[in-house]
């Protein structure tokens, strides 16, 4: 009897505890449900509908997808986006590792340097785009003035199909290095000094230490940075939107998938079609992330 009672009070305590637990996580869970899960599911539904400006939807099956896959714009934008990812991600990560390794040494003024490198990460993308637009300006831009010193005549960087996407990618790399550098630096500082001591005793040089200790030990951080960079690369929008004008001759060759989505949803009011584009972007990102998670087993070392 007594034990039964205590068990019951115990369960009541458990219940109360559990209630409090759920109560405390409720704001986050409800927030996620309302602002992420619900819109996501609704977006999937909208991609099968014709949705007007006022969110009134009528189901049209696969028509949006049919129209999307039969439009040249989709393939052009996909190509541009992949090219952008290819241009920014490998180089951006390589530079971030390099900078992180250099800043990991006990050089003077390294905290000031770290702050400087991190600055782009805390600057508004719109402001970054505006400043770079001036730098690239064909008539008065700093870049062309600089090239003039060497007798090289500049060009309209943002108005030529050959250069515009590269110009935007440079801004992308410049913006991403700081953030990635901080993650990698934290990873480097988590590597136990004993590895390096042991290697030095065995006669390993700085380069050998870097390639045989730093890189493998850093691989979880590199993996993280790779995933986040790929995702943000596939979602590139603001720099392109701000830097490439509609009358630019490079307009078509710089349109990313998110630009395509944006124009259809907000300029033209085709929200259903835009939802289908966003699902397409989602699937691409999902596929690449899955590939990464499978591939990481081959190269990421966890301690």
């Amino acid at each position: 009897m007594k034990s039964a009672l205590s068990r019951r009070t115990g369960s009541r305590h458990q219940l109360a505890d559990a209630m409090w637990g759920y109560f405390f996580v409720a704001p986050v869970v409800i927030g996620l449900a309302v602002f992420y899960a619900f819109p996501f599911l609704q977006n999937i539904y909208f991609s099968f509908c014709e949705v007007d400006r006022f969110n009134r939807s009528s189901f049209i099956g696969l028509d949006n997808y049919r129209e999307m896959f039969s439009s040249g714009e989709l393939y052009q934008s996909t190509g541009n986006t992949f090219l952008y990812v290819l241009l920014t991600v490998p180089l951006g990560i390589f530079l971030a590792i390099l900078v992180a390794a250099l800043l990991n040494s006990k050089a003077r003024g390294q905290s000031a340097l770290r702050t400087l490198y991190y600055l782009p990460a805390i600057t508004m993308p719109a402001a970054i785009a505006m400043v770079w637009k001036w730098i690239y300006n064909g008539n008065y831009g700093v870049l062309n003035e600089f090239l003039k010193v060497f007798g090289v005549s500049g060009r309209n960087w943002l108005n030529e199909s050959a250069t515009a996407l590269i110009a935007v990618a440079v801004v992308g790399i410049w913006s991403m290095v700081g953030y990635n550098m901080v993650i990698l630096l934290a990873g480097m500082q988590g590597i136990s000094p004993s590895y390096y001591e042991a290697a030095q005793i065995d006669g390993a040089g700085a380069l050998a230490c870097f390639f045989h200790i730093t890189i493998p030990m850093l691989s979880p951080s590199i993996f993280f940075v790779l995933i986040t960079s790929l995702i943000s690369g596939f979602q590139v929008f603001d720099t392109i939107y701000m830097m490439i004008g509609k009358t630019s001759l490079a307009y078509e060759s710089t349109q990313s998938l998110v630009m395509l989505f944006y124009r259809n949803a907000f300029d033209y009011g085709y929200k259903g079609y835009a939802s289908a584009v966003s699902i397409y972007i989602f699937v691409i990102i999902l596929l690449f992330t899955l590939i990464q998670f499978v591939a990481q087993k081959k190269w990421v070392h966890y301690e």
């Binding site: 219940l15 759920y22 309302v34 400006r53 008539n139």
Partner: protein, 455 residues
Amino acid sequence: MKKIQHINAKILTTALAGLMVLTSACSSSGTAATTGTTAAAGSDSSAAETSAATTTEGDSSASTKLSFMIWDANQQPAMEAMAAAYTKEHPDVSIEIQLTAYKGGEYWTKLEAGMAGGNAPDVFWMNTLHVENYVDADMLAPLDDAVKTAGLDLDQDFPAALASMYKINDQMYGIPKDFDTNAVWYNKELFDAKGVAYPEAGWTWDDMVSLAKQLNDPDNGVYGIAAPLDFQTCYYNTVFAAGGWILNEDKTQSGYNDPKTQEGIQIWIDLINEGLSPSLASLTDTSADAMFESGKLAMIWAGSYMTPEYVGNEVIKDKIDLVELPTYDGNEANVINGLGYSVYSGSKNKEAAEAFAAWMGGTEAMKIQGETGVVISARNDAQQYFAASQPSLNLKAYTDKAAIATALPVSKVASEMYDLEANSLKLAYSGELSLADACAQAAEQSDALLAKMNK
């Protein structure tokens, strides 16, 4: 295990109930909140707060709250003064002004989200690019009765082309608020430096070209004129003067293939080819406005909305004046566009909102707006105030042309059609395609788009 399941079920129901409460609470204001309004925080639900009791005449104790959404901070003081004048006459009405930025489509996103949730401002600014879509979706209240009650005569009181843009299926969906037309601004200092006489009313396109030749000085970065790829400000005006057209009356066909349309565009491309204007690439990097405002451009075609910007610029404000557009082939033409006041069809105070919107088109309101000098008041009898706001400038070059102006061609797919047009024409401006080929491409795409719209 069973117990845990029991707890889970209980928690789940509470959580679900909470979720439902939260979502239902959010559905009215949450959509608007996500757009991140710039002003009037927390005012989103004001329409819902107003009681269902409408303004019954003679019942002065009933206070009707109207919400009124605008997008231009520069015009907020004028709008406040107008609202104050109205509520002074109608003490039973109070008006709350909501400012939402136009940039990035924020204004329309918020308005459309509000309408989707059945809770939008009662009165708001409307433009010609959106009005047909909104009417099509039954979001706007016809204002003909209110216009009659207020004693407005749309045909007599406003420029005909402007009023026509808000008349859809023979009903009026916007009280004309203001309008813009185009004129040519010039930099007197550059004219003086070359000893060239300023242009005068009645000048022709050829006069302009010869002036541009005399003023052109590319070695010093100075150009006589600029030919940006700008439909409303530049080439539509000359297309109409040349007898061309962009969109037919039924909005079923585009006019790019008409040789007269192409003639009106080709004369701009010639300016670039003759070196009198910077190239399209150059103008995309450094806009014609930026060049004019830094004293690098002798003449520029500009809409009346550029006036506050130019006269507020310390570098050029004392060196500039303006003249009406040159005639082409003996014809004068000007493109007019303008805003209107519209009323939400789902407004809970529709009658009061309509009365207020109509009043905004009256003499008193238009005078208050006009005297600020920010925009040209739409009423014919109030256009003078804009010209008078800067006595030293020939702003009549804008207001005088409202009577002869042609309405900006718009349709439900106007934004998309402008993009298609720019995508094709830029190839002609840069010399990659002949104008005829570029226009054929624009026509084919636009006609397909119009066919889809009319389906």
